[in-house]
């Protein structure tokens, strides 16, 4: 079925890719945002401590004996103790003059008094966070500006950040995995709906054109709707043409019967040999046409019924016995004896009318193509599967035709002048298929044809 469908991508894959891609993107965004937030919070923490340390130093600034003095407490630095033993630097300036501390730590110019300024700098490969504040002391000789910078390395901070990053990475990964699983699940349930529809359509018999009645998701409703309308249109067209054929066959048969009876009557009254010959040819052609019309009608009936079989338990043996009984007069005319071989009761769930039609065609063929004074065997077998075979002692099938004989209107080379339409085996085959079986033609080794209907 899919062989001649142009496939471009897969809805499920597309859906899965979009959803997992989205999840990956979201996980990444989550990671980056949480990390940035954590960095901000951690930095805030360090800044708070630096600022507290700085102001505890700055607060001790006094002017004593005309000199600026800072007698800062032990806790100013001990509060800077971290798990990672971060290094600490400081500088105390009065204006531009270093009072004590590290001289490379310079006070930024844009420092407003009573304000804490935070900076991140890199010195000798160490990342330092610096907090600087200043105060104005009023001495006897005017205002004096004292500024204090406290700097700390960021080892503990980056340790914390790394820890957080690792946890957030796990969180992001977990989020991604869960979303991916969800995405795959969503994609497969969505495509599962499609698959279920496909199987329910594929599982149908070739003749089943009834609408899809199973509930489908709303997105698939238009597709299923048009499929249903399409199928019902197709069904309608098919029924119409079957009806038309049946009607046509019927309409032809009736006038043909009239023509035939007139030709027969005329034949009684005509004596000239050539006139008789042409009348006989005419009767034959009429027979042929009428047979064809009858078979066409049967065929149309079989095609129609095959769509909705009228199932019942059919006793094959009984059915065959009736058939044989009905055809005995024809057999007797040719001196053919019909024997039945039955292994026991054989019932089958099927359409009796169709089965009867098919089997009649088989026996009819055997009677028609086998010479007079021969035997005909109808055998019902139950193993390996239930089957009905019709054996005759005629000339059998030509091996090169055996494959094609069950085609429509195909007749064999051996048909001679026997009346026929070439639809008999076609009907038998279609009935077999409608019952889930098949029709096999073969030749018997001792001569004669063997036609078997397997169910």
């Amino acid at each position: 079925m899919t062989a001649n469908v142009i496939v471009s991508g897969s809805l499920r894959n597309r859906l899965a890719i979009i959803l997992t891609g989205g999840a990956a993107l979201l996980a990444l965004v989550l990671y980056l945002v949480v990390r940035a937030l954590a960095a901000q919070v951690a930095q805030q923490g360090q800044d708070n401590i630096l600022s507290a340390s700085m102001s505890s130093v700055l607060d001790t600034a006094v002017i004593r004996d005309g000199r600026v003095m800072l007698d800062f407490p032990y806790s100013s630095f001990s509060m800077l103790n971290t798990q990672a033993d971060d290094r600490v630097f400081y500088a105390i300036y009065e204006g531009e003059t270093l009072l004590s501390g590290y001289d490379w730590l310079v006070v930024p110019d844009d420092l407003a008094p009573e304000n804490t300024l935070f900076e991140t700098t890199t010195i000798n490969g160490d990342h330092l966070r610096v907090a600087t504040g200043s105060r104005v002391l009023i001495g006897s000789d005017g205002p004096r500006n004292v500024s204090v910078s406290i700097a700390q390395t960021q080892d503990a901070l980056s340790n914390t950040l790394n820890g957080i990053s690792r946890n957030v990475a796990f969180l992001g990964l977990g989020f991604f995995l869960m979303s991916s699983a969800l995405a795959i699940w969503a994609a497969s349930t969505t495509s599962g709906q499609m698959r279920r529809l496909t199987t329910s359509v594929t599982r149908r018999g070739p003749q089943d054109l009834s609408p899809v009645t199973k509930a489908v998701p709303s997105e698939m409703a238009p597709l299923v709707g048009s499929l249903n309308t399409f199928m019902s249109r197709l069904d309608h067209t098919l029924t119409q043409s079957e009806d038309f054929i049946a009607e046509a066959a019927h309409r032809i048969r009736t006038p043909l019967a009239t023509v035939r009876s007139h030709a027969e009557a005329t034949l009684q009254r005509v004596d000239r040999e050539d006139n008789r010959k042409s009348l006989q040819a005419m009767v034959r052609a009429i027979d042929e046409s009428s047979r064809t019309a009858g078979q066409l009608l049967d065929h149309a009936m079989v095609t129609f019924r095959a769509e909705n079989l009228e199932m019942s338990q059919v006793d094959l043996v009984e059915l065959l016995q009736e058939l044989v009984l009905g055809m005995t007069p024809v057999a007797e005319m040719k001196d053919i004896t019909i024997t039945m071989k039955v292994e026991g009761p054989a019932t089958l769930l099927g359409d009796a009318i169709l089965l009867q039609n098919a089997l009649r065609n088989l026996i009819d063929n055997a009677l028609k193509y086998a010479p007079a004074e021969t035997r005909l065997l109808v055998e019902v077998s139950r193993s390996p599967t239930l089957s009905v075979s019709v054996y005759d002692e005629g000339q059998g099938f030509a091996p090169d035709e055996i494959e094609t004989l069950s085609g429509r209107f195909v007749r064999g080379k051996n048909m001679g002048n026997k009346v026929g339409s070439g639809l008999g085996l076609t009907i038998a085959q279609e009935v077999a298929v409608a019952h889930g079986g098949k029709l096999i033609l073969s030749n018997r080794p001792e001569g004669g044809a063997c036609v078997t209907l397997f169910f």
């Binding site: 800062f72 100013s76 009072l99």
Partner: protein, 335 residues
């Protein structure tokens, strides 16, 4: 038992100019440059440790330089590439060296967290500051248990103590300054004690060794803030000496080691630090004669000085000036 060894070193090619060392000893012999240890610890305490190290790593020689904590700090800052290892009892100076980037890190050492700083400064002893008395000279006086008792004794018997009390000169000794500042931080008694010691004309010393010598000779009757480990070693030999740990709290110092960041052979310096720390943890007194680290329970009661950046507080120029001024006001009697 302390020599002041005057050594003129011909080390011009290495940039170490001729100078005065308290002691210098060379251990082992090797065709490679020696491992240079700059230390404030008496050679006698370190000789077994160094010999054990040499036994473990053949073709190694060690030069062991001994000097005071303050000079040691200045010398090392001036020429950090001349030395592999720095060992000092002045925790504050050592921490500042590590803080200023003079030390290299020694990673993944199995060492208690409180006894190391920044993976580069490692404490390996717990040594309380002690009151040491000459038992004979103390005859008839109550043995003091706390600082307060000491104050009382000196107030009650100024004549017996006059000129016979010793303590560190905090201007000269890094360790003395560390003990003094930590005492002052912990209790107001320190200042009263210093004042009383000043009143009885306390003698000021650069080092524990000399204080102990003078105690043994009977020149001193009592010394305050003597390095307990040295005093204990001497008290074991001399019955006259008695070591008293102040019962309210003994200020406890941890001796520290660091490997120079500019060490000529960083791997060997690293190995030495690890070796020392391992000997400390094993604690065999034959090889490691120093008092090992206190276990963490004694840590609080002993009032061990914490290894943290706050140690730099009293190294601040202004704070130091102010402290010394106050100390001088208390101890140096101008009358």
């Amino acid at each position: 038992m302390r020599y002041l060894v005057l050594l003129i070193l011909l080390l011009a090619p290495f940039g170490i100019l001729a100078r005065e060392w308290e002691d210098l000893q060379v251990f082992g012999s090797s065709d490679r440059p020696p491992l240079r240890i700059l230390s404030s610890t008496d050679t006698s305490f370190f000789a077994p440790i160094i010999e054990d190290f040499i036994a473990m790593s053949p073709n190694t020689s060690v030069e062991y330089f001994v000097t005071g904590t303050v000079e040691l700090d200045q010398m090392f800052r001036a020429a950090p590439d001349q030395f592999d290892i720095v060992i000092s009892s002045a925790m504050d100076l050592q921490l500042k060296l590590a803080n200023d980037g003079f030390s290299s890190t020694v990673m993944n050492v199995d060492h208690p967290d409180w006894a190391q700083w920044h993976n580069s400064l490692f404490a390996f002893t717990s040594e309380p500051a002690a009151i040491v008395i000459n038992r004979k000279a103390f005859d008839g006086l109550n043995i003091p248990g706390r600082r307060q008792d000491l104050i009382q004794l000196m107030r009650d018997h100024p004549d017996r103590f006059q000129g016979r009390v010793g303590t560190y000169d905090v201007r000269q000794s890094g360790l003395g300054y560390l003990f003094a500042t930590q005492d002052a931080r912990a209790t107001e008694t320190y200042w009263r004690l210093t004042e009383v010691m000043g009143r009885v004309g306390a003698k000021l010393y650069c080092c524990s060794g000399q204080m102990i010598d003078d105690l043994r000779s009977g020149d001193l009757i009592m010394a305050y803030n003597v390095l307990g480990s040295y005093a204990q070693a001497q008290a074991a030999i001399s019955d006259d000496l008695m070591v008293i740990l102040p019962s309210e709290f003994p200020t406890t110092m941890m001796r520290t080691i660091l490997a120079s960041a500019a060490a000529p052979d960083p791997q060997r310096a690293d190995r030495f630090v690890r070796h020392l720390l391992k000997l400390q943890s094993v604690g065999d007194p034959a090889i490691f004669p120093l008092p090992p680290l206190a276990v963490s329970e004694d840590f609080q009661t002993q009032r061990t000085i914490n290894l943290d950046p706050a140690l730099m507080t009293y190294l601040d120029q202004m704070k130091r000036e102010a402290f010394i001024r106050e100390w001088e006001d208390a101890i140096v009697q101008v009358d």
